[in-house]
Symmetry: C2
Subunit: 198 residues, 2 copies
């Protein structure tokens, strides 16, 4: 490399993005330098603007330009149901699927002994406070079906036991388009156990 510390720094920062390694970060920075007007300057501006304007919603933890966020401000949404998700990415995925019309609560991760994540590192206090509000009837624990996700769900169910709300979790079963032959035993067992009239 002979292009000086500016490009090295750009490559180094780009390589920290998920999905980009050192090699693809080099390709990306080269592509940026060659598309200065169409891509590099707009991207620099978009990053600076987003960094300045976007913050976490103090109610649910979603990222938005306003606080409370657009989801929390939307009067058409159902105040009686709160869907608990691990990350903002999960919230976005549910919104893309238009799967849910209530409110959200972003935990900011899951409990993990291995990674040293305890209850105090997650937004648990905010959830308990919200669950105690009069109009909340149901808390959906939409955590990942991983060991850590399920541990966290159990922990939250315990913590929320005192609030007078229904606590539910997402159904387990065969995914849409899924072939039985390729599914793991746990999913098949769960799908059998929760079978329903055809």
């Amino acid at each position: 490399m002979s292009a000086g510390p500016e490009i090295e720094r750009l490559i180094q920062l780009l390589s920290k993005l998920p999905g980009l390694g050192p090699r693809s970060a080099r390709r990306a920075s080269l592509s940026l330098l060659q598309k200065r007007e169409q891509l590099m300057i707009p991207l620099a501006d978009a990053l600076a603007e987003a960094a300045e304007k976007i913050s976490a919603c103090s109610t649910c933890g979603n990222l938005d330009v306003t606080d409370p966020c657009a989801v929390c401000r939307d009067h058409r949404r159902d105040d009686s149901v709160i869907c608990v998700v691990e990350t903002v990415g999960d919230l976005w995925a549910l919104e893309r699927a238009s799967a849910f019309r209530g409110r959200y609560h972003v935990l900011g991760g899951v409990l993990s002994a291995l990674d040293g994540v305890g209850p105090e590192d997650l937004n648990v206090a905010g959830l308990i406070e919200r669950a105690g509000r009069e109009d909340v009837k149901e808390i959906i624990l939409a955590l990942n079906a991983t060991v850590d996700g399920q541990t966290t769900a159990h922990f939250l169910a315990d913590k929320l036991a005192e609030a007078s709300v229904d606590i539910t979790s997402l159904a387990r079963g065969v995914p849409v388009g899924g072939e039985l032959d390729y599914l793991d035993d746990g999913t098949l067992t769960a799908a059998f156990r929760s079978r329903r009239p055809a």
Copy 2:
């Protein structure tokens, strides 16, 4: 998605980077928003700085903060050899390998009837001018071993025939670590034809 046009725009710009699709661009922008101080603001600054400072060297076409670039300014390099490469990425690859201590010339692409790239779209005139200088003894055509790369090499060899320089190209053969079983016929034939005393 519910996070407003700022994030959508960021995702859309990131998805134009080579190696990032819409899905990974979404993950990347989420990761950026969550690492605002460590990653997002530094990246915005690095992009803006690079866009402002870095330009193509008017001699060789390399990208650098100075013009002429660091390679062209380096007095320890050999003025008598010019290595012609397709892109700045190729130049960086050769520099990383410390394969060459002469000067470079970046064509900016290869001739391609399919993509409508003609000689006037490449930096051919600059090369012919440089090849005519007194101290230049050899031009190495380090173009990719693709059909377009080799077409371009032939075209350049023709154009440079009048200049009193040696015109060479990179050796063809078995790559380091390459297993014969996995090599294509063309490479094996070339390696046999250029065999040398062991």
